[in-house]
Symmetry: C2
Amino acid sequence: MREEDKLRLDNQTCFAVYACAKEITKLYQPVLKTLGLTYTQYIAMLALWERDGVSVKELGERLYLDSGTLTPLLKKLESQGLLTRVRDAADERQLLIKLTERGIALKARALEVPELAFCRTGVDVELLMSVRSQMNELMAALQPTMDR
Amino acid sequence: MREEDKLRLDNQTCFAVYACAKEITKLYQPVLKTLGLTYTQYIAMLALWERDGVSVKELGERLYLDSGTLTPLLKKLESQGLLTRVRDAADERQLLIKLTERGIALKARALEVPELAFCRTGVDVELLMSVRSQMNELMAALQPTMDR
DNA sequence: ATAAATTAAATTGTATGCAATTTAAATCGA
DNA sequence: TCGATTTAAATTGCATACAATTTAATTTAT
Protein backbone atom coordinates (compact mmCIF):
# COMPACT_ATOMS: atom_id res chain seq x y z
CA MET A 1 0.00 0.00 0.00
CA ARG A 2 1.22 3.49 -0.80
CA GLU A 3 2.54 5.34 2.23
CA GLU A 4 -0.01 8.15 1.96
CA ASP A 5 -2.90 5.66 1.80
CA LYS A 6 -1.99 3.81 4.97
CA LEU A 7 -3.89 6.18 7.24
CA ARG A 8 -6.86 6.87 4.98
CA LEU A 9 -10.04 6.37 6.99
CA ASP A 10 -11.56 4.30 4.20
CA ASN A 11 -8.65 1.87 4.41
CA GLN A 12 -9.06 1.20 8.14
CA THR A 13 -10.84 -2.05 8.90
CA CYS A 14 -10.93 -1.00 12.53
CA PHE A 15 -13.00 2.06 11.64
CA ALA A 16 -15.34 0.09 9.36
CA VAL A 17 -16.15 -2.33 12.18
CA TYR A 18 -16.36 0.46 14.78
CA ALA A 19 -18.77 2.53 12.67
CA CYS A 20 -20.84 -0.50 11.70
CA ALA A 21 -21.24 -1.61 15.29
CA LYS A 22 -22.60 1.82 16.22
CA GLU A 23 -25.08 1.87 13.32
CA ILE A 24 -26.35 -1.59 14.20
CA THR A 25 -26.87 -0.53 17.81
CA LYS A 26 -28.86 2.46 16.59
CA LEU A 27 -30.95 0.13 14.45
CA TYR A 28 -31.88 -1.96 17.48
CA GLN A 29 -32.53 0.94 19.81
CA PRO A 30 -36.12 1.87 18.82
CA VAL A 31 -37.14 -1.80 18.82
CA LEU A 32 -35.58 -2.43 22.23
CA LYS A 33 -37.18 0.67 23.63
CA THR A 34 -40.54 -1.09 23.43
CA LEU A 35 -39.09 -3.70 25.79
CA GLY A 36 -37.60 -1.08 28.09
CA LEU A 37 -34.06 -2.25 27.35
CA THR A 38 -30.90 -0.57 26.11
CA TYR A 39 -28.69 -2.47 23.69
CA THR A 40 -26.21 -3.60 26.35
CA GLN A 41 -29.02 -4.62 28.66
CA TYR A 42 -30.47 -6.63 25.75
CA ILE A 43 -27.30 -8.64 25.09
CA ALA A 44 -27.02 -9.28 28.83
CA MET A 45 -30.57 -10.65 28.78
CA LEU A 46 -29.74 -12.76 25.70
CA ALA A 47 -26.90 -14.39 27.62
CA LEU A 48 -29.11 -14.93 30.67
CA TRP A 49 -31.98 -16.39 28.65
CA GLU A 50 -29.52 -19.01 27.48
CA ARG A 51 -28.17 -19.64 30.95
CA ASP A 52 -28.83 -17.88 34.23
CA GLY A 53 -27.76 -18.54 37.79
CA VAL A 54 -24.28 -17.55 36.67
CA SER A 55 -21.73 -15.27 38.33
CA VAL A 56 -20.86 -11.77 37.15
CA LYS A 57 -17.50 -13.08 36.02
CA GLU A 58 -18.99 -15.85 33.89
CA LEU A 59 -21.53 -13.45 32.37
CA GLY A 60 -18.76 -10.98 31.68
CA GLU A 61 -16.64 -13.56 29.86
CA ARG A 62 -19.56 -14.36 27.61
CA LEU A 63 -20.28 -10.71 26.86
CA TYR A 64 -16.69 -9.40 26.87
CA LEU A 65 -17.64 -6.97 29.64
CA ASP A 66 -16.10 -6.48 33.08
CA SER A 67 -17.66 -5.81 36.47
CA GLY A 68 -17.19 -2.08 36.00
CA THR A 69 -19.80 -2.20 33.27
CA LEU A 70 -21.89 -5.09 34.52
CA THR A 71 -22.36 -4.10 38.15
CA PRO A 72 -24.38 -0.95 37.46
CA LEU A 73 -26.14 -2.56 34.48
CA LEU A 74 -27.26 -5.57 36.52
CA LYS A 75 -28.39 -3.34 39.36
CA LYS A 76 -30.60 -1.52 36.88
CA LEU A 77 -32.09 -4.74 35.54
CA GLU A 78 -32.65 -5.85 39.13
CA SER A 79 -34.47 -2.60 39.89
CA GLN A 80 -36.69 -3.34 36.88
CA GLY A 81 -37.56 -6.68 38.41
CA LEU A 82 -36.00 -8.73 35.62
CA LEU A 83 -33.39 -10.51 37.73
CA THR A 84 -32.05 -11.03 41.25
CA ARG A 85 -28.48 -10.59 42.50
CA VAL A 86 -27.65 -12.99 45.34
CA ARG A 87 -24.32 -13.88 46.88
CA ASP A 88 -23.31 -17.49 46.36
CA ALA A 89 -23.57 -19.21 49.72
CA ALA A 90 -20.78 -21.59 48.71
CA ASP A 91 -18.47 -18.72 47.72
CA GLU A 92 -19.41 -15.34 49.07
CA ARG A 93 -17.13 -13.60 46.59
CA GLN A 94 -19.44 -14.53 43.78
CA LEU A 95 -22.74 -12.91 42.95
CA LEU A 96 -25.24 -15.16 41.24
CA ILE A 97 -27.58 -13.66 38.68
CA LYS A 98 -30.97 -15.30 38.35
CA LEU A 99 -33.83 -14.25 36.12
CA THR A 100 -37.18 -13.57 37.76
CA GLU A 101 -40.48 -14.78 36.31
CA ARG A 102 -40.76 -11.41 34.67
CA GLY A 103 -37.24 -11.66 33.24
CA ILE A 104 -38.01 -15.08 31.79
CA ALA A 105 -41.33 -13.87 30.41
CA LEU A 106 -39.68 -10.99 28.56
CA LYS A 107 -37.99 -13.48 26.23
CA ALA A 108 -41.28 -14.16 24.46
CA ARG A 109 -41.57 -10.51 23.51
CA ALA A 110 -37.91 -10.37 22.48
CA LEU A 111 -38.22 -13.15 19.91
CA GLU A 112 -39.19 -10.68 17.21
CA VAL A 113 -36.42 -8.19 17.97
CA PRO A 114 -33.78 -9.34 15.46
CA GLU A 115 -36.26 -9.41 12.59
CA LEU A 116 -37.86 -6.10 13.55
CA ALA A 117 -34.47 -4.41 13.77
CA PHE A 118 -33.50 -5.40 10.23
CA CYS A 119 -36.92 -5.55 8.58
CA ARG A 120 -36.85 -2.05 7.17
CA THR A 121 -33.29 -2.35 5.89
CA GLY A 122 -32.18 -3.74 2.58
CA VAL A 123 -29.85 -6.20 4.27
CA ASP A 124 -30.30 -9.77 3.17
CA VAL A 125 -29.79 -12.76 5.42
CA GLU A 126 -26.87 -14.07 3.37
CA LEU A 127 -24.83 -10.96 4.07
CA LEU A 128 -25.66 -11.07 7.77
CA MET A 129 -24.57 -14.70 8.07
CA SER A 130 -21.41 -14.02 6.12
CA VAL A 131 -20.58 -11.04 8.32
CA ARG A 132 -21.16 -13.07 11.46
CA SER A 133 -18.89 -15.80 10.17
CA GLN A 134 -16.09 -13.34 9.40
CA MET A 135 -16.46 -11.58 12.75
CA ASN A 136 -16.07 -14.94 14.49
CA GLU A 137 -13.00 -15.67 12.41
CA LEU A 138 -11.51 -12.29 13.25
CA MET A 139 -12.31 -12.67 16.94
CA ALA A 140 -10.63 -16.07 16.98
CA ALA A 141 -7.52 -14.55 15.46
CA LEU A 142 -7.49 -11.66 17.94
CA GLN A 143 -8.15 -13.60 21.13
CA PRO A 144 -4.84 -15.56 21.36
CA THR A 145 -3.00 -12.26 21.58
CA MET A 146 -4.49 -11.75 25.03
CA ASP A 147 -2.36 -14.60 26.41
CA ARG A 148 1.00 -13.36 25.23
CA MET B 1 -34.29 -20.94 12.12
CA ARG B 2 -35.74 -22.80 15.09
CA GLU B 3 -37.65 -20.55 17.44
CA GLU B 4 -35.39 -21.32 20.41
CA ASP B 5 -32.27 -20.49 18.39
CA LYS B 6 -33.42 -17.03 17.32
CA LEU B 7 -32.09 -15.34 20.45
CA ARG B 8 -28.93 -17.37 20.93
CA LEU B 9 -26.02 -14.98 21.41
CA ASP B 10 -23.93 -16.91 18.89
CA ASN B 11 -26.58 -16.34 16.23
CA GLN B 12 -26.63 -12.55 16.62
CA THR B 13 -24.64 -10.73 13.96
CA CYS B 14 -25.16 -7.55 15.94
CA PHE B 15 -23.30 -9.04 18.90
CA ALA B 16 -20.50 -10.43 16.74
CA VAL B 17 -19.83 -6.97 15.29
CA TYR B 18 -20.26 -5.24 18.66
CA ALA B 19 -17.81 -7.59 20.41
CA CYS B 20 -15.33 -7.44 17.54
CA ALA B 21 -15.31 -3.66 17.51
CA LYS B 22 -14.44 -3.59 21.20
CA GLU B 23 -11.64 -6.13 20.82
CA ILE B 24 -10.13 -4.19 17.93
CA THR B 25 -10.22 -0.99 19.97
CA LYS B 26 -8.42 -2.79 22.78
CA LEU B 27 -5.83 -3.96 20.27
CA TYR B 28 -5.10 -0.39 19.20
CA GLN B 29 -5.08 1.10 22.68
CA PRO B 30 -1.50 0.26 23.78
CA VAL B 31 -0.11 1.38 20.41
CA LEU B 32 -2.04 4.65 20.49
CA LYS B 33 -0.98 5.29 24.07
CA THR B 34 2.55 5.94 22.78
CA LEU B 35 1.06 8.78 20.71
CA GLY B 36 -0.98 10.08 23.63
CA LEU B 37 -4.26 9.34 21.83
CA THR B 38 -7.38 7.36 22.67
CA TYR B 39 -9.03 5.35 19.91
CA THR B 40 -11.72 7.94 19.20
CA GLN B 41 -9.15 10.72 19.20
CA TYR B 42 -7.13 8.65 16.71
CA ILE B 43 -9.95 8.26 14.20
CA ALA B 44 -10.66 11.98 14.53
CA MET B 45 -7.01 12.67 13.69
CA LEU B 46 -7.18 10.24 10.75
CA ALA B 47 -10.07 12.24 9.31
CA LEU B 48 -8.26 15.53 9.90
CA TRP B 49 -5.00 14.31 8.38
CA GLU B 50 -6.98 13.67 5.20
CA ARG B 51 -8.72 17.02 5.35
CA ASP B 52 -8.72 19.72 7.98
CA GLY B 53 -10.18 23.20 8.14
CA VAL B 54 -13.57 21.51 8.31
CA SER B 55 -16.55 22.17 10.58
CA VAL B 56 -17.61 19.98 13.48
CA LYS B 57 -20.63 18.93 11.46
CA GLU B 58 -18.58 17.81 8.48
CA LEU B 59 -16.13 15.96 10.70
CA GLY B 60 -19.03 14.34 12.51
CA GLU B 61 -20.59 13.09 9.28
CA ARG B 62 -17.33 11.47 8.32
CA LEU B 63 -16.89 9.80 11.71
CA TYR B 64 -20.57 9.10 12.47
CA LEU B 65 -20.26 11.15 15.64
CA ASP B 66 -22.29 14.13 16.82
CA SER B 67 -21.29 17.35 18.57
CA GLY B 68 -22.08 15.81 21.95
CA THR B 69 -19.14 13.50 21.46
CA LEU B 70 -16.94 15.71 19.32
CA THR B 71 -17.07 18.95 21.28
CA PRO B 72 -15.30 17.62 24.40
CA LEU B 73 -13.01 15.42 22.31
CA LEU B 74 -11.87 18.32 20.12
CA LYS B 75 -11.39 20.52 23.18
CA LYS B 76 -9.06 17.87 24.55
CA LEU B 77 -7.06 17.63 21.33
CA GLU B 78 -6.89 21.43 21.30
CA SER B 79 -5.56 21.43 24.86
CA GLN B 80 -2.86 19.00 23.67
CA GLY B 81 -1.87 21.48 21.00
CA LEU B 82 -2.81 19.24 18.07
CA LEU B 83 -5.48 21.50 16.59
CA THR B 84 -7.23 24.84 16.83
CA ARG B 85 -10.96 25.55 17.09
CA VAL B 86 -11.91 28.84 15.43
CA ARG B 87 -15.32 30.24 14.53
CA ASP B 88 -15.87 30.64 10.81
CA ALA B 89 -15.91 34.37 10.08
CA ALA B 90 -18.27 33.78 7.15
CA ASP B 91 -20.71 31.81 9.32
CA GLU B 92 -20.32 32.23 13.04
CA ARG B 93 -22.40 29.13 13.73
CA GLN B 94 -19.63 26.95 12.41
CA LEU B 95 -16.45 26.04 14.19
CA LEU B 96 -13.49 25.30 11.96
CA ILE B 97 -11.00 22.67 13.02
CA LYS B 98 -7.43 23.17 11.85
CA LEU B 99 -4.43 21.03 12.65
CA THR B 100 -1.43 22.74 14.19
CA GLU B 101 2.15 22.03 13.13
CA ARG B 102 2.29 19.56 15.96
CA GLY B 103 -0.94 17.91 14.84
CA ILE B 104 0.37 17.55 11.30
CA ALA B 105 3.70 16.23 12.55
CA LEU B 106 2.03 13.51 14.58
CA LYS B 107 0.93 11.81 11.36
CA ALA B 108 4.48 10.63 10.68
CA ARG B 109 4.53 8.73 13.95
CA ALA B 110 1.04 7.34 13.32
CA LEU B 111 2.00 5.69 10.02
CA GLU B 112 3.05 2.52 11.81
CA VAL B 113 -0.04 2.27 14.01
CA PRO B 114 -2.18 -0.08 11.88
CA GLU B 115 0.66 -2.54 11.39
CA LEU B 116 1.75 -2.39 15.02
CA ALA B 117 -1.78 -3.01 16.23
CA PHE B 118 -2.15 -6.20 14.23
CA CYS B 119 1.46 -7.37 14.10
CA ARG B 120 1.21 -9.74 17.06
CA THR B 121 -2.09 -11.24 15.95
CA GLY B 122 -2.59 -14.13 13.58
CA VAL B 123 -4.86 -12.03 11.37
CA ASP B 124 -3.91 -12.06 7.73
CA VAL B 125 -4.40 -9.13 5.41
CA GLU B 126 -6.85 -11.00 3.21
CA LEU B 127 -9.29 -11.42 6.09
CA LEU B 128 -8.96 -7.76 7.07
CA MET B 129 -9.69 -6.59 3.54
CA SER B 130 -12.63 -8.94 3.24
CA VAL B 131 -14.05 -7.76 6.55
CA ARG B 132 -13.70 -4.14 5.52
CA SER B 133 -15.49 -4.84 2.26
CA GLN B 134 -18.38 -6.54 4.02
CA MET B 135 -18.65 -3.81 6.64
CA ASN B 136 -18.94 -1.25 3.85
CA GLU B 137 -21.60 -3.34 2.17
CA LEU B 138 -23.53 -3.63 5.42
CA MET B 139 -23.21 0.08 6.15
CA ALA B 140 -24.53 0.90 2.68
CA ALA B 141 -27.55 -1.31 3.31
CA LEU B 142 -28.19 0.25 6.73
CA GLN B 143 -27.77 3.90 5.83
CA PRO B 144 -30.88 4.36 3.62
CA THR B 145 -33.07 3.46 6.57
CA MET B 146 -32.09 6.73 8.18
CA ASP B 147 -34.11 8.64 5.58
CA ARG B 148 -37.40 6.84 6.00
C1' DA C 1 -3.05 -23.21 61.14
C1' DT C 2 -2.10 -18.86 59.34
C1' DA C 3 0.22 -15.32 56.70
C1' DA C 4 0.62 -14.53 51.73
C1' DA C 5 -1.31 -14.78 47.39
C1' DT C 6 -5.26 -15.06 44.58
C1' DT C 7 -9.90 -14.20 43.20
C1' DA C 8 -14.62 -11.82 42.46
C1' DA C 9 -17.23 -7.62 42.78
C1' DA C 10 -17.51 -3.15 43.60
C1' DT C 11 -15.72 1.36 43.24
C1' DT C 12 -13.26 5.29 41.16
C1' DG C 13 -11.91 8.01 37.40
C1' DT C 14 -11.74 9.07 32.61
C1' DA C 15 -13.57 8.86 27.99
C1' DT C 16 -16.96 7.98 25.00
C1' DG C 17 -21.78 7.98 22.67
C1' DC C 18 -26.12 9.76 21.80
C1' DA C 19 -30.91 11.76 22.58
C1' DA C 20 -32.85 15.93 23.78
C1' DT C 21 -32.51 20.66 24.77
C1' DT C 22 -30.48 25.21 24.56
C1' DT C 23 -28.15 29.07 22.46
C1' DA C 24 -26.70 31.88 18.88
C1' DA C 25 -26.43 32.82 14.04
C1' DA C 26 -28.17 32.63 9.39
C1' DT C 27 -31.91 32.06 6.22
C1' DC C 28 -36.69 32.10 4.82
C1' DG C 29 -41.14 34.00 3.89
C1' DA C 30 -45.09 36.91 3.94
C1' DT D 1 -37.91 43.89 6.42
C1' DC D 2 -38.61 41.41 10.42
C1' DG D 3 -40.68 37.60 12.75
C1' DA D 4 -40.51 32.50 12.04
C1' DT D 5 -37.83 28.76 10.77
C1' DT D 6 -33.67 26.43 10.23
C1' DT D 7 -29.02 25.33 11.30
C1' DA D 8 -24.50 24.47 13.98
C1' DA D 9 -22.40 23.85 18.43
C1' DA D 10 -22.69 23.40 22.96
C1' DT D 11 -24.85 21.59 26.94
C1' DT D 12 -27.38 18.24 29.80
C1' DG D 13 -28.52 13.76 31.25
C1' DC D 14 -28.09 8.98 31.02
C1' DA D 15 -25.75 4.73 29.81
C1' DT D 16 -21.93 2.43 28.63
C1' DA D 17 -16.77 0.86 28.64
C1' DC D 18 -12.64 -0.08 30.76
C1' DA D 19 -8.19 0.62 33.47
C1' DA D 20 -6.86 0.75 38.05
C1' DT D 21 -7.77 0.33 42.77
C1' DT D 22 -10.19 -1.36 46.80
C1' DT D 23 -12.63 -4.67 49.62
C1' DA D 24 -13.88 -9.02 51.14
C1' DA D 25 -13.59 -13.94 50.69
C1' DT D 26 -11.06 -18.02 49.44
C1' DT D 27 -7.06 -20.68 48.47
C1' DT D 28 -2.13 -21.61 48.77
C1' DA D 29 2.09 -22.51 50.82
C1' DT D 30 4.90 -23.27 54.55
